[in-house]
């Protein structure tokens, strides 16, 4: 596969994934909540992409995914774009430093990056001057999301590994 075709293939694949993730998050996982939490599929994808493809690729993807989410939700546009961009960058820094075959890697990466993502959102909303409710019961809200993301992340790890992993 030529590099150009590979790039196009990636763009189409991610575009498809983003729509599927949006649909699943809003209509499927909204009914399949875990302790009142819904998973963030795009975040999982960004974290794994960071581990496999590095900070530039993952932060770009994170920005686009986040922006899509923001546009879909229609409020505080930019908050998810920036937070996911940051997460992509942070996760990308792990590239080459972690043993990707270790099953604890996706678990720990997704869990910690979910917490980081939520913290970033909180900071950004403060910067934007928006009164945020994230303060109240922050960890009660974040930990279930992190656990849910980790469980799904573990299941999706193999797929992401195959999709974006360097061969």
């Amino acid at each position: 596969m030529s590099p150009e075709v590979r790039v196009i293939w990636h763009i189409v694949g991610w575009a498809f994934f983003s729509i599927v993730a949006l649909v699943l998050e809003t209509s499927f996982f909204s009914r399949l909540q875990l302790w009142g939490a819904m998973p963030d599929l795009m975040l999982i994808a960004v974290v794994f992409t960071g581990l496999f493809r590095g900070p530039l690729y993952a932060s770009s993807l994170g920005f686009i995914f986040g922006l899509l989410e923001d546009l879909f939700m229609g409020r505080l546009i930019g908050v998810n774009a920036l937070s996911k961009m940051l997460i992509g960058y942070l996760a990308g820094m792990g590239k080459g430093h972690v043993f990707k075959e270790n099953p604890f890697v996706p678990l720990i990466a997704v869990f910690s990056m979910t917490i980081a993502n939520e913290l970033a959102i909180w900071v950004l909303t403060q910067l934007a001057g928006t009164a945020s409710q994230i303060n109240s019961g922050f960890f009660l809200m974040v930990v279930p999301v992190a656990v849910y993301n980790s469980i799904l992340g573990l299941a999706a790890y193999a797929v992401i590994y195959r999709w974006v992993g360097e061969k």
Partner: protein, 275 residues
């Protein structure tokens, strides 16, 4: 992976960050309208959401019922109990509505007759256990000023007269009792007679002692004549439904359908005094 120039990337990141924070500031919850891009994205995703929801509903509903059978059973019990309670309440309210309707008519009547009679309202609390056509028991008695032989009416017409009084109850002999006889007259022709229970015609009264040559016709109205010891003049009794000639050919008999529905007596008025 291709190497990238760090300062250039850093500049892009900074620009994106500034851009992001700026858009966040302008896209708070108080925005009145979505942008074109947001609307397009929502419109794009909506059919998929709808399809996904449809599929989930179809697939999950049977399983949901199984998984939640205990909750559903409990809900069912609760709802059944609630339905029963509401039915009971509904029935009670319906009763109140009907009672309100009857009392209003009674009140109107009372107000209408205020100039003629002093009236005491009473509720029917009992009927003769052997045959309730004959006597009824009211919830008023001596303490309410009720005395023997007082006349009992409602907004429809004459009911009877009090025959026994206790401190708090009064027994009323209705027009259907064999012992009842009321001096009456045909309202249109002023022909007098006596009204008593119709022999062999349940639910009807008869006006007897009518001369064979008097003008009594079906549809005429019968009121009390005021002759006799108990009943004041002019109280409605019933309407003539049939006129028959006695086999002897000397007297007529008028069958009267009473205005009062004796099967549904609930509230009545006792005439204390004729003013």
């Amino acid at each position: 992976m291709a190497r990238f120039n760090l300062p250039r990337v850093a500049i892009v990141f900074v620009i994106l960050t500034v851009f992001g924070i700026a858009t966040m500031r302008f896209t708070g919850l108080d925005r009145s309208q979505l942008s074109q891009v947001e609307m397009i994205l929502r419109e794009l995703v909506a059919p998929f959401q709808s399809a996904m929801t449809f599929v989930i509903d179809k697939v999950s509903s049977p399983y949901k019922a199984i998984v939640k059978w205990e909750e559903i059973a409990r809900q069912n019990e609760e709802l059944t109990a609630r339905v029963e309670k509401l039915e009971f309440e509904n029935n009670r309210l319906q009763e109140y509505r009907l009672q309100n309707f009857r009392l209003k008519k009674l009140l109107d009547f009372k107000e209408l007759k205020e100039d003629e009679y002093n009236l005491t309202a009473a509720r029917v609390i009992g009927r003769d256990p052997s045959n309730w056509y004959h006597t009824i028991t009211l919830d008023v008695g001596e303490t309410d000023g009720i005395r023997k032989n007082m006349v009992v009416i409602n907004y429809e017409g004459l009911i009877g007269r009090v025959i026994k009084v206790t401190e708090n109850t009064a027994e009323v002999l209705t027009l259907f009792d064999r012992a009842s006889a009321v001096g009456a007259l045909i309202q249109e022709t002023r022909v007098p007679g006596v009204v008593e229970p119709a022999a062999g015609k349940k639910g009807y009264l008869q006006m007897v002692h009518l001369s064979h040559d008097v003008g009594v016709m079906k549809g005429q109205h019968v009121v009390t004549s005021g002759l006799g010891a108990y009943f004041p003049k002019g109280i409605r009794i019933g309407i003539v439904s049939e006129v028959t000639l006695d086999p002897s050919g000397l007297v007529k008999k008028a069958i009267i359908r009473p205005y009062v529905d004796f099967n549904r007596l609930e509230e009545v008025l006792v005439i204390n005094d004729v003013t």
